[in-house]
């Protein structure tokens, strides 16, 4: 029996979305097949890994992932420049976690100042994230969007409770928007529809279906991403054809497996290597499931993922 490769072609295609400006502008998406399936279609762009930094020192990060940034993290600008110039980051994700009312409770103005300083000090694309406090994010992200006007950033995350203000800020300042819902393809679709009903361009949305760490619900995120991608490609659903984002580092670096000291759990092996591996394995799973943009923390995990992408492209 002769073997005929059972290739799949799909009617749909993921939107190409560009972020950043000038020479360092980057495009993600654009493929008409599942992740890395270049043997049956076109995969014009590689996934983008953004290095995560914060507006305040990462005292809440485990030691293994604080360490690489210990000399630079006191100041978001030096942190961003270190990622860009020394670690060759392709993009930066600035999380304004210090604005959270339970944290430093920084004001929207302070956050905007940080954003302005960071965006002025780098030429690679910037992703601007709030603190995931739906009320506070509305005001913080409006100010942040203005402070980075016309730099073609991604801002977010817009959720059902606050998408209107954040989407309006993205439009007014020429940014892309992250639409985040919680682990459910229907909620994700619904939010995209609500946002586009405001007149927001559907091709400027990035889907965040909510990430989860390896061992802590990863399979839910994995399957939701696969289903979103299949809905966009196979069913040609225009509300599900946006690039997908995985906010990996934030979910990974708070689970036991990335924190626990080897002394306490000898069966788990070296703490640092375990943490890096946890982040890298979570990240590769998200990429295989369909993510085009990842936000990650540990330089070694990012380096490994870039190498793996090289092997997959």
């Amino acid at each position: 029996m002769a073997f005929i490769p059972p290739k799949e072609t799909y009617p749909g295609r993921v939107y190409s979305v560009s972020i950043g400006t000038g020479q360092k502008e980057i495009t993600v998406g654009g493929e008409n097949v599942l992740s890395f399936h270049s043997f049956e279609g076109t995969v014009p762009n590689r996934p983008l890994i953004a290095h995560e930094i914060q507006d305040v020192p990462p005292t809440d990060w485990p030691e293994s992932v604080q360490k690489p940034y210990i000399d630079v993290y006191a100041n978001p600008v030096s942190w961003a420049k270190y990622c860009q110039d020394v670690l060759n980051a392709k993009a930066i994700a600035l999380r304004l976690i210090g604005t959270h009312p339970d944290r430093e409770n920084r004001s929207a103005e302070e956050a905007a100042r940080t954003v302005k300083e960071v965006v002025d000090s780098i030429d690679i694309p910037l992703i601007i994230l709030g603190s995931n406090h739906t009320e506070k994010d509305s005001s913080v992200l409006i100010a942040a969007a203005e402070a980075s006007k016309d730099r073609n950033c991604i801002i977010g995350k817009a959720q059902e409770a606050n998408y209107k203000t954040i989407a309006a800020a993205a439009v007014a300042n020429n940014h892309k928007l992250i639409a985040m819902s919680e682990l459910d393809i229907n909620l994700s679709k619904q939010l995209n529809i609500l946002i586009t009903q405001m007149g927001f361009d559907k091709e400027k949305i990035i889907i965040d279906p909510m990430c989860s760490a390896l061992g802590y619900g990863l399979e839910y995120t994995y399957s939701v991403m696969e289903r979103i991608r299949l809905a966009g490609l196979a069913q040609n659903d225009p509300t599900m054809q946006q690039p997908i984002m995985g906010d990996v580092g934030m979910y990974v670096w708070k689970v036991k497996e990335t924190i626990a000291d080897e002394k306490d759990v000898p069966l788990w092996g070296n703490t640092e290597e375990r943490g890096i591996t946890w982040e890298a394995v979570t990240a590769i799973s998200m990429l295989i499931a369909g993510a085009e943009i990842l936000i990650m923390r540990h330089p070694k995990a990012i380096e490994a993922i870039e190498k793996m992408i090289d092997e997959l492209m």
Partner: protein, 450 residues
Amino acid sequence: MALTGVEIFKLLPKTNCKKCGFPTCLAFAMKLAQRQASLDLCPDVSEEARQKLGEASAPPVRPITLGTGESAVKMGEETVLFRHDKKFVNPCVFALGIKDTLSSEEIEKKIDEVRNSVIDRVGQKLKIDAIALLNDSGSPEKFGNLAKILSEKAPEIPVILCTTNLSAAETSAKLYADRKPVIYGANSENFEEMSKIAKNYRATLGIAASSSGGLNELSELTEKVKKLGIEDMVIDSGARKAKEILEHNTLIRRAAIKKNFKPLGYPIITFAQREDNLLETLVAALGITKYSSIIVLSSIERWKNLALFTLRQNIYTDPQVPMQVEQKIYKIGEPTEESPLLITTNFSLTYFIVSGEVENSKVASYLAVMDCEGLSVLTAWAAGKFTASKIAQFIKESGIEGSIKHRELIIPGYVAILSGSIEDKLEGWKVTVGPREANGIPAFMKSRMK
């Protein structure tokens, strides 16, 4: 090719006698086509039909067992391409590669590593399942020696005997006769002799296509080997780069499942070994998510095992059964009789997130996890499974009153409405409303400490 319901129907007796348990032959045929019934249920089916249907109704990926006894592992039997459609059936096998160039001491050390790889995770014992013997030396004697050490010192561990050398294959297969090893290394040059060896010692044969021949060569080889009377095979397309592994594994699984293409309906063996250990781990992760049945590794450090075991567990869970954890009072940290008591439902994701955040708060606590059939807090409350009386009953029966001095229960913010009625039903208790979202727990706990 898979037969359609109507094609199957034509082969059935068409008497509608109902002995199969279905109202009509057609209804039964439809079930057969969806692989939801077995042909054996119809007692009157003709020999001819049985043969035709047998071929077509065999599982698209052949079931193969590696090893015997308690440590035997099942492979194959997969029925879908995406885990959201249906549970992936048999979790892939992890095999540590051991080179025959190592000294006896080094080999024994590796055996110990495999034996000590067992880790308990959410109630499952996870481990490195097998050893792949690698004939790096090219010498049949050295390979035979390695096989001898393993079969004597670690007779329980299933093996994959990787060699293309006939005498090495023969000697090692003999040592493992009737213990269901895989002899891996049947290629276009040696497959006839290799088939004989596999047949003699009742082993599974590993088919290796050249990297240039790929899936075409692989299909031809398995057909030729099958004609020689070998049914049990595992297959390798020669893919080593991640890009090819993804492409070949996807095409193999699709051909088997969507086209019922028998020559590729076998478990896949993937060689993930790399100089760069972290990269190797990622290639193994690709194998786990994308259809490999055996993954050969060059080393098995504990941190690496833990990550790979966990990914395998995640990918192979049943997507249709909401994952649940056991109903009980979980200790987080080392709680004392003064430690706070929180309650939530037993949806595993809820449990993971809540317990993780309690842990992050660094306040030793008791977490009461109540059986709500795997629903999250809001859904369980809406479905009447997380109610004041059920909560009260659970707390009473849990025996927690013997472990703590205080009588304060912290409930999720989403069910704040329940606080009064719980207090009514749990005499002497005070109910405190916690945050709505788990990520508010650390701040909540901190503010209580003040």
